[in-house]
């Protein structure tokens, strides 16, 4: 079997395992859907009057805040992908894999496949809920496609962060401990208000330096204003940078973790 074909086979089988595992753990899947939708409902109901603030970019708070569940869903991929790998390390399953001719990129790609599959279904759910609740999709069908693409890129990056945490710590508990920390980043972003309308100076400053703000704003631009090249460039650029850095760091961590000769 050629090297490329063998790599493709390994990725395929590990991806299949990852998806099967994800589907067989309802306790892992359900919160990833319910929690973001619950917060979406609460925020939309409770903060609707924010649209009356002069300069608010839309009359629909639902449209404004709909970008946030995509981020929350992606954050769940940190926990899901990381916890699965940490469990493999703790149980010795990773050693079993290490005794085969498995290649490192195949392992990481395969493990991320489950997170991406879940991320796709999550994105589809949020889009359908948004449509059903009357949110605007200013960029039309093409914009929805771009939302899916960006959402999956974000999921890939965050999933790789989960893998990195698992490989560095080897502990499911440590990975789960990372989850609330990442949520702090989400709360300190432009998720609830546009950056120019945040009155508290330090909050506005933090939101400006917080990369998550730009990921949210890229999705939000497609919902509210249509095609905004600058927002999309920033969003895709930052998401790609996060994914690349996290994958590189995870690959290095995998080499250290698998001390096989």
């Amino acid at each position: 079997m050629s090297g490329e074909r063998q790599l493709a086979t390994q990725v395929g089988y590990l991806a299949r395992r990852s998806v099967v595992r994800t589907l067989r753990q309802p306790a892992q899947v359900v919160p990833a859907f319910v929690f973001p939708l619950f917060l979406l409902a609460v925020n939309t109901g409770g903060l609707a009057r924010a649209t009356r603030i002069p300069g608010f970019p839309t009359h629909s708070y639902l449209t404004f805040v709909l970008a946030v569940p995509f981020m929350q869903g992606a954050l769940f991929s940190v926990m899901n992908a990381g916890t699965d790998l940490a469990r493999d390390i703790e149980s010795g399953f990773l050693n079993r894999l290490a005794l085969t001719p498995l290649r490192g990129p195949a392992l990481l790609s395969g493990l991320l496949a489950g997170a991406l599959a879940l991320g796709f279904v999550q994105a589809l759910t949020y889009v359908l809920v948004g449509l059903a609740a009357g949110a605007d999709f200013a960029a039309g069908v093409g914009g929805v496609g771009v939302i899916f693409a960006l959402s999956l890129l974000i999921t890939l990056g965050f999933g790789a962060i989960g893998l990195l945490a698992a490989l560095r710590t080897g502990s499911g508990e440590a990975v789960q401990g990372l989850f609330p920390l990442l949520f702090v980043f989400l709360f300190l972003s432009s998720g609830s208000l546009p950056r120019n309308l945040i009155h508290t100076a330090w909050f506005r400053e933090v939101a400006t330096y917080n990369p998550i703000s730009y990921l949210i704003e890229a999705i939000r631009s497609l919902l509210i204003s249509g095609w905004n090249a600058q927002a999309l460039e920033l969003g895709f650029g930052i998401a790609a940078a996060i994914a690349a850095c996290a994958m590189l760091a995870a690959s290095a961590a995998l080499r250290s973790r698998l001390a096989r000769t």
Binding site: T9, D88, R255, T261
Partner: protein
């Protein structure tokens, strides 16, 4: 079994040190012949699993060298992994996957052709008696079933050398016996070399052609079970008199046959100078002295006696001391390794 045959596993001065810890393995030499079942016997924390991890390329040695299947474990890791199968401590299985799914994943990762993946998986599941449970999730398997699946997974790519790290720990006697039968068959019929770590004396005694006894990172004795037992000497006979008042008279008779050895409070025991053939003489002497016997038992030397003789401790309860525990699967010390 002669070790002059081509060695499948060789180690010279193998050492493994962990940071801030003692030497888990402290200069081990091994010569294991092709087709041999080698029992690596020792208490918890003795260095068995660390040795296994080094020989299976999962842990680089701190010093020394080892060759497995003719390949250097440090310089030729991928080639070593190509000729070995391993079922490491605690069956490392995914509770959410079925037995069949495990087999498909393992056959694919080992690069078996597509058409062979299903047949090889089914054949191995049948061989280890899991055909009926093949479509059940592993989370519902018993300990014995998990161990048998673990063994089947280790055999997927037809390895020449098999490493089994405490394969029967925690199993009931039926499951243990079934696994022993399969391991014996692999060595006898397929010529597979088996490196088996165990803390069970009986397992090493029944299964292994040769036994290496490891304690605190060093091999303290090595040979066939019979050789090891004969090295430490003669059998003993232990007798409990029907009446406690006859204990002194009983001791006087027994001491004619050998020196006193350790016995329970009610009993008297001696190590027989003339070996087990003297048992009949002992019975006749007791009869002649009119000593009624409640219980008489001949103790052949066991591997535990060998361990006791070599280390001054009994294997039972000679577990790890603080800081001596061996690494858990997956809890290896992080070190830089080759790209995977």
């Amino acid at each position: 079994m002669s070790v002059s045959r081509v060695a499948s596993i060789e180690a010279d001065g193998l050492v493994r040190e962990f940071k801030k810890g003692p030497r888990a393995v402290d200069g081990i030499d091994l010569r294991i012949a092709s087709g041999e079942i080698y029992g690596f016997l020792g208490p918890n924390g003795a260095g068995k699993s660390t040795t296994t991890l080094m020989l299976t390329t999962l842990l680089p040695p701190t010093a020394g060298s080892a060759r497995v299947g003719g390949y250097d474990v440090v310089k030729q890791g991928p080639q070593v992994r190509g000729v070995i199968g391993a079922a490491l401590q605690e069956a490392a299985l995914d509770p959410l996957l079925t037995g069949s799914e495990h087999m498909r994943l393992q056959t694919a990762l080992h690069g078996l052709p597509r058409e062979e993946r299903v047949t090889r998986g089914a054949e191995l599941l049948e061989r280890v008696g899991l055909a009926e449970a093949a479509e059940r999730k592993v989370g519902g398997y018993s300990g014995g079933m998990k161990r048998r699946l673990d063994l089947a997974l280790a055999l997927v790519h037809r390895p020449r050398i098999l490493f089994l790290d405490e394969p029967t720990t925690g199993l009931d006697i039926q499951s243990r016996t079934a696994l022993w039968d399969e391991v014996s068959r692999l060595a006898a019929d397929d010529g597979v070399t088996v490196f088996l770590t165990t803390q069970y004396l009986e397992e090493a005694d029944v299964l292994a052609d040769r036994v290496g006894i490891i304690d605190r990172g060093r091999i303290v004795a090595e040979g066939t079970p019979a050789q090891l037992k004969s090295e430490i000497g003669r059998p003993s006979v232990e007798v409990i008199p029907l009446e406690a008042a006859q204990r002194e008279a009983l001791a006087a008779v027994l001491e004619r046959f050998g020196e006193r050895s350790e016995a329970s409070s009610k009993a008297v025991a001696v190590r027989l100078r003339g070996g087990e053939r003297e048992l009949a003489e002992v019975v006749r002497a007791l009869d002649a002295a009119d000593i009624a016997v409640e219980h008489i038992q001949l103790h052949a030397p066991s591997l535990d006696d060998v361990f006791l003789a070599k280390t001054g401790r009994s294997l039972e309860g000679a577990g790890a001391e603080p800081g001596e525990a061996e690494p858990r699967p997956g809890a290896l010390e992080a070190e830089s390794g080759a790209a995977v």
